[in-house]
Structures are given as C-alpha cells and as structure tokens.
Symmetry: C2
Subunit: 459 residues, 2 copies
C-alpha cells in the first residue's frame, strides 16, 4: 500500500458534512494553507448539506437537491484550499503510525498520514434485522443521497401508498412529505404515542393532528417485517403483529446511533451512549485527535448525563469549536439541552430539556404544569391553539424542561425556555420576565409566563 | 360632603384597567369579601381592556370593542365581589384622614375611606400646546373610549386623508389601521427616523417598509399646529415648518407621561421619571398605599436606572404583585428590560434592553453588530428577511440590548434576547446556546446565535 508523506502539518477530516467541514473551514480561517494542509475524506458524493431539509426535498417544498448544499467540494477547494475527496471511505485509523486508510470508490486503498485528525463520522441509522428490510422501495433518509433516491422513486414509480415506520421527527416530516405528494400515508410506531421525545400526553396532541391531516396512525405496533413481491421483488406491505399494511414505498425513521465504529476500532475511548467521548474542546482520548457531531457524546446541561443527540446545530457548533482549537485558538462547547423543533403540515412541535421519563431517569423530583393557550391575543384574528407543558424540580423550583404542541408561531417559543434552561432559571423567575407583547404576537400574559407561574404556584 | 365609614378593612383602587383590576382581583383571591372590602373607582366607562388592541379596533381587524374587554364591571361584581364604580373620578387623596374624594359623573363628590389604597392612575398622553389640537377630528388613542370615538368618526365621516403625528408604536399601528381603512396616510415625526426606541439605522428599515406600504413619511418635521375649518370647525390640515398636509382625521401618538398628579398632590414621593416611586413590592412612600402600572417608575435591569414604560405587561404583573402583597402574601416585581414588539402590516419590529443612545446615557462602553439574515433556512419557501442588531458591553462582553426589524416570525425572537438579558448573559454564552432548529423555523445557525458570535469575535 502506497504511503504518502507530507511536508506541512496536515489535518485529516473524516466526514464531509456539518461537523467535519465546519471544523475544516474554521481551522483554515485561523491557519492558512502554508501553515496547515487540510484533507477531507467523505464517503458520499456531497459535502455540507442540510440533512434536515431532506423531507422537504421529497415533498417538493424544496425544488432541487442543490438547494440543500451549503458548500460543495469545489467551493471548499477554491475558497478554503481544502482538499476534499468525495466517494472516499476511510477504512481504518492507525494512531501509532498516525495514518488513516482511505479507499476511493472502486480504487486502491491509500494510507494518508496526519498530524491532527478530526473524526466526524456522523450517525448510523437503526435498521432492525427483520425480513425484507433491504427490499427495493424501503428507504432510510439519513443522507442527501437517500433523499434523492426517495424523491426519484416517488417521481418515477408514483407510489400510491406509503408507510412510515417510526413516529419521531423524521418520520413525521416524511409523513407530511408523502401527504404533500398525494399518497395515502400510514405511520407505524411501536410506542403508545408518536414523538416519544415528548411525554405521552403531548404526543397525543401530535397523533390527533396527524389523524386530522389524513395520516393513519398505528400505535403500539412493532413492525415484524416487510412483505415483498415474489422472488426478492419490491416492497408490497409492512407487517406488524396486528396486521399487514399495503405499501408501495416504506421509509424507516427509527432513529440513529453514533457512528463511532471507526474510532472504537482505533482504540479511542467510547462513552456510555456509544458516542465518542470528548471533552468540551472536542478532544478525544487520543492526542491530536478530535471528534464532533453525531458520532460523539455531549454533556446534557440539565441532567449532567452524557447524551448523543444527532442534530445539525450541535454538529455545526462542535465542528467550529474543534476547528478553532485545531487552528490554535481556544473554544469550548457548552453542552446541549436537547432542544428540538419540527413541523408537520401546520402543526409545530418543540421540546427542550428533560421530559418526564428523562427527568425521572436523572433522579429529579419534579412537578408539571400544562396550559392551553393561544399564539396571539384571544381576540386577534389568526390566534391559534398552543399547548405548553413545563417541568420543574420540586425543591429548587428550577425549570427542567418544556414541550410545545401548537399551530402557527407556537414552536419557536421553545427558544425562550431553552434560554431559561441554559441559565438554570427557576419557574418564578421565568414567570417574572419581560417578554414582548402586542396583540398579533401573544396574549398580554405570554403562555410561557402563565405556565411558569402556574407551576410556581403549584409548588 | 358625605363620609362613609366601613366595618371591614377596605381597599380602594383608583383606576379600573390592567394594574388596578389585576391588583384588586389578586387581593380578592387571597382575601374573601368577609375579610376585605374592595372598591374600585374608574373615571371612564370600561374596565380591564386591551389598550394595545385599539389600533386593531380602528382598522377593523377586531370587530367590536367588547372583544377588547377582558372583564367588565358586572363580572368583577359577580365573580370577584369587587364594587366597581365606573364614571367616577377621584379628585383627591387625603393620607391623614385616609380618604379619597370621588365624584361620579354629574354627581356630588363623596369621601370614601380606605385602609389600603392602590393607585393605578395610568398614563397621560402628551398633547403639545399648539393651535387646533382640540379641534374635532383630532384624536388621542389612549383609552378604549378614544378608540371607539376614532372608529365611529371613520365609519360615519369616511375621512379620505389621515395624518398620524408621532412615529412610535402607536403611531405606526394607527398608520396601518388607516391604510386598512383605505385612507391616504401620512406619518409625521420630529426625529430623523420613525421608531425612536430603535437606533436610527434600524428605524431606517421601518421607514423604508412604511414607504413601501404607501404611507408617506415626513421626518425631522416638528408639527407646528392643526389647521381647522373657519369658525372653530373640524380639522383640515396639519402644519409643520415645511408644509401643510391635508387631513380629514389626525391621530396624536406623541407618547405618554406617568399619570402621577393625584399621588403627587397627596404628598406621595414621585421619582425622577415623573412616575410614582415604588419599591419591588409596589409600596409607595406612604404607609398602606400601593401603586402599579403606567403611573409608577420601575427599575431597568440593564441600566439600573428608574424608567417609566407604559405597557400592559408591566401593569398586569405589577398589579398582581401589589395584589398579592395587599392580600397578605409576598411578591416582588423583578424590573423591566424595555422589551417591546409591534407589527405594521407584515413588518415586525421589536427591541429589548438598551439602544445606543440609552447605553451611552447609562455610561456603558459598547460595541454593536448587525446581521441581515432570514427567518427560515435560506432555501425554505417563505424565508423572509430579518435584520438583527445587538449591543454588548466592551469589557464584560455582556449583552446590553437587541433590536429586530423583519418580516413574518422575526419579531418574537426578541424574547430569546430578553431572556438572555434577564440573566446578564455574555454574547459568547448567547452564541453557544441550544436553540431550536428545523428548516421551516430558522437557518441552522439561528440569526440570534450568529449575531452574538459576530459581536463576540469583534471584541
């Protein structure tokens, strides 16, 4: 195997999406190409794209895949002097020799040496080992290539019935996309309600809204397999213990796990979540080796437990922190709150901090309050329903988490509660805050304030 | 003059809107009518209405005045056992005798004795002493009665041309209302840009948007008088040093001052803003006398200076604090940030904390950063422009204030910055926060995060 040796210090980045390319470009901002060579190796054909935009590509809310790409390889080469090699799979990391083994698609493996290594290998979609899961017409929606494949399938095959397996964010957004494409859509979820990142009472509201949009929701039904046309043909139906549901297309939205196998094989420390263990500067257990994005574990600021949350925002921030440190600067990642927001047709769903199950697991004694309110003054046209739930610790009255389900303009209010959580505010203090009020924007007592007050009074 | 004496302890509330009735109803929640008699005296015909809704009543976004009333006198009598007397003007407070002099419209003054007194006398609109200001067709929009009068004038007289004097929130909202009613609208402002609560560079954006909506904006033009039809007739035009502008209707939105005259005459301490001096429990300088709402001064949490900001949110919160304390409970008002939000047609305008002039006045050394971004991911349909400006203190890097001008969904982001200010966050810390992201809601780096980062990097 050929071995290349380099004169300048060299950073190798494994993974060319959010975390990897944020790190690479930030390192470049601090060190020019005379000081630092940067090589980025990406398995797929794309760099720096919005994975969160994939459902909208499928639903044709977004017209072309190019719209989701924030910087392509040519841009990185031209504007950042970063040598990006797409279609190149890294097969191994040798920490002693400080090399990685990289194989271009259909080509010969090459050993590339590094001075610093940035691991940004992302997440691996969960695919249950059930019959038919690899049949034509069964898709994951992890990468932009997956999204393009789903869209092309829908465009060319014109499926009439769709089954989405898994009722999380991706599942819901894909259900919406298929509704927009005129399909008959079923959502199958093993849990008692969709959106298990919410408490069941809030998930119930999501279920009702989905049903209202014409999506058939099947709950407490673990999928047992995919039925295909005879002779290894295309998908025909999705089977559960209850029934068999016809499906011309199936999308799996069963969550992801950290893509830490490469790091693990190299002897880099992996944490209890299965994510690569990193400190706040995004250093791994190996000298000069950094990691960021969906493949790492992060500190949850409320539970203080390690968590692995696959989300573009963390990937971007962590990548930037790593890049700053790699470039000789100083930056720390502040941890996560588990903030997430999603939209299914016009329903907005958001959460931050801990839900009831998470708070119990973290050992908190807590109380909850739920408020049904409106997004604008009650008398103002367009005032839409929103339900807000908050959790607070019993003794300290500290806010622990919040969940929102509601219509237009409800969701982004979660940021106020994320900011409150970031600052460990008590619910009394949240209730006292000076938030913006005008009739088109909220009732005079913003739902955030009333729910916090209700919770404070209750304790 | 007749004097009534009471057996039970008696609370008299002067002013039946947000602050007064919040205090009265909260006191009632803690003390039933056997323990505390409550008498509320209101000069006008209405109680507890949304003054902020008046422009929408005039613009017919809201159909009837009743929609703006949250609780009418009958409701307070029935559900809260509060004796509400509308049309009753309080002419004086005697602290030694512990009485107020109350005169029902067209009736005889009566002396009413109190054990505790709650002053919620609101704000007084600024009316310049210029010729013609009292002419028919010239309106303030302070009370619900004002709003009803403007609407009736528009309905019956069908004015063709409207002039709004003063480019603050009320002025802008009234300009929108008149545009909606099909009038030719001019906005006349003495300052160099509208919305002087924003910095001029942000006010400029508001001006451009107003012009785009067809409103003719005249800046740096102090009004010199109102021209009327001969013989003390109706308004015909508004005159400035530059020109005379035809007007079938004129609305004055020149701001307000605290309505503290009654308290001052009674010897209660008035602060440097002209508002009644109160502590965090809403106690005035006089034993057993409380005050809340537009008539008081509050502590600004960033400048630490006293301010008088007439806003329904503060009035409601302060009233509730006073009511809790009056009822024997314990509550403190946490101060204000000067958060405000408004909408002119589809333009959203919001601010919190200190603007440049206020920060300079408070003695801060600061830097600013301004970002032009979008309300959703750039590729997502409906992504609209928003401009976000932040100020931070030079040494501490502490956030001092923020301003937003933008389209749909831009404005309420101010609450995140208000929450950050409430917690004295540094811009580095703001930039690190875990805010909600999905393509329909924001770019992957929320504008709030990027602006904070930009400001942090700049210092």
């Amino acid at each position: 195997m050929e071995r290349r040796v380099n004169a300048r210090p060299r950073l190798i980045v494994i993974g060319g999406d959010a975390a990897g390319m944020s790190a690479a470009s930030q390192a470049r901002r601090l060190r020019d190409s005379a000081e630092l060579e940067i090589l980025a190796l990406e398995r797929g054909p794309h760099t720096s794209y919005s994975a969160c935009g994939i459902p909208y590509l499928v639903g044709k809310t977004v017209s072309s895949p190019e719209a989701l790409i924030s910087r392509d390889p040519a841009t990185f080469r031209r504007d950042f002097e970063i040598d990006v090699r797409t279609g190149t799979e890294v097969e191994g990391i040798d920490l002693d020799r400080r090399t990685v083994t990289a194989r271009p698609a259909g080509g010969r493996a090459v050993e590339e040496s590094f001075d610093q290594l940035m691991i940004a290998t992302g997440a691996v979609p969960v695919r249950p080992g059930l019959p038919g899961m690899d049949a034509p017409g069964v898709f994951g929606v992890q990468t932009l290539s997956d999204g393009i494949a789903v869209r092309e399938f829908v465009d060319s095959r014109r499926p009439r019935t769709a089954v989405v397996v898994g009722g999380g964010y991706i599942g819901l957004e894909m259900a919406e996309a298929f509704v927009q494409r005129g399909m008959e859509v079923r959502l199958i979820e093993a849990a008692t309600e969709p959106m298990t990142t919410l408490d069941p009472d809030m998930g119930r509201l999501v279920r009702d809204a989905l049903t209202g949009m014409g999506v058939r929701v099947h709950l407490s039904e673990p999928v047992t397999g995919v039925e295909t046309a005879p002779g290894g043909g295309a998908v025909r139906a999705v089977a559960t213990e209850e029934a068999s549901y016809p499906a011309d297309i199936v999308v799996l939205g069963l969550g992801v796990r950290p893509g830490s196998d490469l790091a693990r094989a190299a002897g880099i420390e992996i944490g209890p979540t299965g994510g690569i263990a990193v400190d706040a500067r995004m250093r791994t257990s190996a000298e000069g080796v950094w990691a960021a994005g969906d493949c790492v574990q992060s500190l949850h600021r409320v539970s203080h437990a390690p968590v692995s949350i696959a989300l573009g925002t963390h990937a971007n921030k962590q990548g930037r922190v790593a890049g700053t440190n790699i470039g000789g600067g100083y930056a720390r990642f502040g941890g996560v709150l588990g903030t997430a927001i999603s939209k299914v047709c016009d329903l907005e769903v958001a959460r931050t901090g801990l839900n009831e199950a998470e708070a119990r697991r973290a050992g908190f004694e807590f109380e909850t309050a739920t408020l049904e309110s409106t997004t604008r003054a009650g008398y103002f046209p367009g005032a839409a329903a929103m339900t807000l739930k908050m959790l607070a610790e019993r003794r300290s009255r500290r806010l622990l988490g919040a969940q929102i389900v509601g219509w237009e303009n409800a969701g982004k209010r979660i940021d106020v509660l994320a900011t409150a959580l970031w600052n460990s505010m008590s619910v009394e203090d949240v209730a006292a805050m000076d938030l913006g009020y005008a009739p088109p924007f909220s009732p005079v007592w913003d739902p955030v304030l009333i729910t916090a007050r209700k919770l404070a009074e209750q304790m």
